[in-house]
């Protein structure tokens, strides 16, 4: 038995194995990779949102260092179709062809011996534009006479979906009917490291090697292969250390295709490192949703129906592999979430505009959906004259209904949602805040409290994605495990860890199964040449899917270790247990170490009898969950805010998260995911916004304009855990990587609205910036700002 204090398996807050290199500046990010003879790329990008391209002038003497689409004629456009009925296909040329459709679209590729030199050349390229009227706002795009982003479509709608229901009876019966127009701004995921590529051609292997800041390297390879007309085997994609992904690094970028092509063309290593301006304005765009939503409830606030028209601004192109319809299609299926209702109708549009393509960001559609639903529930609570948490308790699916299939057919595997609310209310001490609200604050600010609930479907598989028919349907996950001759366990997975700590947590899984010290486990990930196929890291799936695959592969290694050890110790394999790095005869102190077993197997096979199974100590095992509808983690976020009605600022005074992520593999890392997600959600709620002018020019091009929350904007978040095990996964674990980013906009907006309810102000759009808040206050005809000499 391992002493309790020494346990390093599942459930232990083990410090991370990967920290050592990062703390000494030894992380290996793509920008750190340099090669002899390497050239660097800078792109010429469209300065107009919508225009026909005329002549592109290459600077005299530098013609061989500038490439336009006609030079890349054999390269295919990026296409990401959905099989959903009515989906209209877009083809994104890797360099613009005939027309540009958003500011920042690639027009030409230039290279130099340094990035600075490449930029010098790019600055000399002339591009003739014939400007076209841009369509910038998604509602303008839906107008009959709107300019067309893709002319042959006839309109600007990628996809329209409809969940119909007859609400006539509900409309006449509902005592409460709240109708709201709710909007979330376009945002940028803004990982601290941008995208980046280093590509070179390996003559010996006849293989293009592409280092890319990517979270789904096998999918990147498939996309590159199809654009470059190469067999997948002729491409190796390596995702080295990656400085944050958040969904952005799951996308195949045209830049990746161009740089890979150039490496083949030149026969030299080529590097492109995305700068912040490129990232903010042209690439990492996300989140822009609009909801016209109506909630029907009885007089007590019990929900009867939700009716919603949702429009998502998908930007100019459908991005590979998730497509332009992921967000809106998700909206219609996840809007009701854990709430019970009798009827539900939802109509969605994925709309093309002359803006950068919208990409899935942590939480994907959930953040917008949670914002819309939770604001409506608070509005219902106000109508019903109840505490918002009481309305939640009245409508959430109760634990005795688990497993539960909701009105859109989502299968909730487990959980006690009302308990999460009760615990949040208790941890947060709502009565304390209600009491404080009754007295004016000395500094004149207004206090408000708010909460929000969401569920996070994670590690969902084939049955969920097949219906969308996007280029990538997940099914299973694999792990290759190898016990090396020295007893070190190598694990290989095709997903990628870029902050989630998989090098540690998967070693903990191996410890749980094989009893091996995590220090003796090496995880190899994110390299298509070294790892089994995987759809990669997305959808909060790794701890369930890769964790399950690691457990399967380790079980098989354990079986084979016991077989060999049984021969050596002359006992039946079933009499052997694996613990503390040893194979022990159960109930005795006779044992042999894993290292000795491995040594004998590889280096001293003469010690084994002839009938030993030659299967060896290396295996690849696949895994899928018992049912592929996904694990459902969930949380209740509750917060208190102080609103300065003179300046329109919001300070978060307290923030509590009660989270149920099933069984926690490493609670410290889980907390880190929740803290980090919540901080991003605070950014969505109060700071982050990518505005455009009427001509489609993005207006936040630096981090001085695009405000990311810093240490002064994020409070000391408190977390409480519930651990309802999922019946679907190996150890009862659930995916929780995204959830933190889902609820904060809703919880904070509800708190702000609570603070301002006496003033008749309700904020329905995020971020809740001072500009928006003061405009809303002015509209509500608040008396002019009160002077507060105490300040």
């Amino acid at each position: 038995m391992t002493a309790a204090g020494q346990r390093k398996g599942i459930g232990v807050p083990l410090p991370r194995k990967e920290d050592a290199r990062f703390l000494r500046g030894r992380g290996e990010y793509v920008a750190n990779i340099a090669m002899v003879g390497m050239v660097e790329v800078a792109f010429v990008r469209s300065q107009l949102a919508h225009a026909r391209i005329g002549a592109i002038g290459k600077p005299p003497g530098q013609e061989d260092r500038v490439f336009v689409m006609t030079d890349l004629a054999d390269v295919k456009s990026i296409v990401a179709d959905s099989a959903l009925k009515g989906f209209k296909s877009s083809a994104q040329p890797v360099l613009a062809q005939r027309k540009v459709r958003y500011v920042g679209e690639l027009v030409a590729m230039c290279y130099g011996d340094s990035r600075a030199e490449a930029e010098d050349i790019a600055g000399l390229v002339s591009v003739g534009y014939e400007s076209l009227a841009p369509v910038v706002d998604m509602f303008d795009a839906l107008q009959r006479d709107a300019p067309l982003v893709h002319e042959h479509w006839g309109d600007n709608v990628f996809l329209e979906t409809r969940v119909d229901d007859d609400l006539r009876e509900i409309r006449s019966r509902a005592a409460i009917r709240v109708q709201r127009r709710i909007r979330t701004a376009r945002q940028s995921m803004a990982p601290l490291e941008g995208r980046g590529v280093v590509a070179f051609y390996d003559r010996r292997l006849d293989q293009l090697t592409v280092y890319s800041a990517a979270q789904m390297p096998h999918i990147t390879r498939a996309g590159l292969a199809s654009c470059l007309n190469l067999d997948q085997g002729r491409i190796r994609v390596i995702a080295p250390d990656v400085g944050g992904g958040f969904g952005y690094k799951g996308i195949l970028l045209p830049e990746e295709v161009c740089v890979a092509w150039l490496a083949l063309k030149l026969g030299r290593p080529v590097r492109w490192i995305e700068d912040r301006f490129e990232q903010l304005t042209a690439n990492a765009n996300c989140r822009e949703h609009h909801y016209d939503i109506t909630g029907y409830a009885d007089a007590q606030g019990r929900l009867l129906a939700i009716e919603c028209d949702a429009v998502v601004d998908s930007g100019a192109y459908s991005s590979y592999p998730f497509s332009a319809c992921l967000e809106a299609a998700q909206v219609s299926s996840i809007l009701p979430g854990p709430y019970r209702m009798e009827h539900y109708a939802c109509h969605t549009w994925s709309v093309a505009t002359n803006k950068a393509p919208i990409l899935p960001y942590r939480g994907v559609a959930r953040t917008g959906v949670c914002f819309a639903m939770e604001l409506v529930l608070d509005a219902i609570a106000r109508e019903a004259g109840k505490e918002p948490y009481e309305v939640r308790l009245a409508n959430l699916v109760p634990p005795d209904a688990m497993p539960h299939v909701n009105i859109t057919g989502k299968h909730f595997d487990s959980g006690d949602y009302p308990e999460a609310v009760r615990r949040a209310v208790a941890a947060f001490d709502i009565e304390k805040w209600r009491k404080r609200q009754r007295h004016p604050e000395p500094d004149g600010r207004r206090i408000g409290v708010g909460l929000a609930i969401f569920c996070e479907q994670a590690a969902h598989g084939t049955s969920v994605y097949f219906g969308w028919g996007i280029p990538m349907v997940p099914g299973h996950e694999q792990c290759t495990a190898r016990l090396s001759p020295d007893g070190i366990l190598e694990l290989r997975i095709g997903a990628h860890s870029h902050g989630q700590g998989l090098e540690t947590t998967l070693a903990q899984v191996a410890q749980e199964v094989l009893g091996i010290d995590p220090a003796n486990v090496r995880l190899i990930h994110g390299d298509t040449a070294l790892t089994p196929y995987s759809t990669g890291t997305w959808g909060s799936r790794c701890m369930v899917m890769s964790g399950g695959a690691v457990a399967e592969a380790c079980s098989e290694i354990g079986r084979r270790v016991r077989h060999i050890a049984g021969k050596l110790l002359e006992v039946a394999p079933d009499d052997l247990v694996l613990e503390d790095g040893d194979v022990r005869v159960a109930g005795t102190d006779r044992s042999i170490s894993l290292a000795e077993v491995a040594h004998v197997w590889y280096r001293a096979p003469q010690l084994l009898p002839p009938d030993v199974d030659p299967g060896g100590l290396e295996t690849t095992r696949g895994y899928k969950t018992r049912q592929d509808t996904g694990t459902f983690s969930y949380a209740c976020h509750a917060c208190a805010v102080a609103v300065d009605t003179e300046l329109g600022t919001v300070e978060i005074l307290d923030y509590v998260v009660v989270e149920d992520g099933g069984r926690l593999i490493n609670p410290m890392i889980v907390d880190g995911q929740v803290f980090g997600g919540t901080a991003q959600g605070i950014g969505t709620a109060l700071y982050e916004e990518m505005p455009f002018d009427t001509q489609g020019q993005p207006l936040a091009s630096t981090l001085a304009d695009y405000l990311l929350p810093g240490a002064t904007e994020v409070p000391a978040i408190r977390i409480e855990h519930m651990e309802t095990r999922s019946p679907l996964s190996s150890f009862g674990q659930k995916g929780i990587g995204e959830g933190g980013a889902v609820a904060p906009p809703a919880a904070i907006a509800n708190a702000v609205n609570d603070a301002l309810k006496e003033l008749g102000v309700e904020m329905l759009e995020c971020p809740i910036s001072p500009r928006r808040l003061l405009a809303a206050l002015a509209e509500a005809r608040v008396p002019s700002p009160r002077l507060s000499p105490t300040r």
Binding site: P15, R16, E18, D19, A20, R21, F22, L23, R24, G25, R26, G27, E28, Y29, A31, N32, A34, S114, A116, A190, P191, L192, E193, D241, V242, G243, G244, F246, D275, R276, H498, G499, Q500, G501, M668, I669, D671, G672, F675, G676, G677, T678, A679, Q680, T702, L703, A704, L708, G710, A711, T712, V714, A716, I717, G740
Partner: protein
């Protein structure tokens, strides 16, 4: 080209540089000291923070040619530093890093906080961290780690 002579992590360096080359590119591309990460190259994110003459500075908006005679210390130059070792241990114990990209700059700023402001409280630590963005941790672990080192330091003295 300009000849510049400076000290990097205690070692003298003499090199010809293009005046436009900023210090971070010089360190990363010429000296292969890649621990200094670039996050925005306009002085906001703090990822490239390192020490010039003993105080934190943004290496993306300092030109290498302007560092004549300067003592530059990057994250790699703190390998054997006892205080930095305490910070590293606290960072790992408090899970103050995830993707690791902001970490070198964050550690340099943390080092400055614990040496310059030994009595800093949580509010002050947060204020001093305002110029170092982290997109992963929500700052919870970072603030705790720095407060922990400050507290141990105070307990010792």
């Amino acid at each position: 080209m300009k000849i510049v002579a400076l000290t990097v992590n205690g070692k003298p360096v003499r090199a010809a540089v293009e005046p436009r080359t900023h210090l971070a590119d010089f360190l990363r591309e010429r000296l292969r000291l890649t621990g200094t990460n670039l996050g925005c190259e306009h002085g906001v994110c703090g990822a490239c923070t390192l020490m010039i003459d003993g105080v934190p500075a943004r290496s993306c908006i300092a030109f290498a040619a302007a560092c004549e005679g300067a003592e530059v210390r990057t994250i790699e130059g703190f390998d054997e530093d006892a205080l930095m070792e305490r910070l590293r241990q606290a960072f790992t114990a408090e899970h103050a890093l995830q993707c690791g990209y902001c970490t070198p700059g964050m550690l340099v700023t943390a080092y400055d906080i614990v040496t310059r402001l030994p009595d800093a409280d949580e509010a002050r630590v947060r204020e001093e961290l305002a110029g170092n963005l982290c997109r992963c941790t929500g700052y919870v672990g970072i603030v705790r780690a720095i407060l922990h080192v400050l507290a141990t330091q105070r307990a010792r003295s």
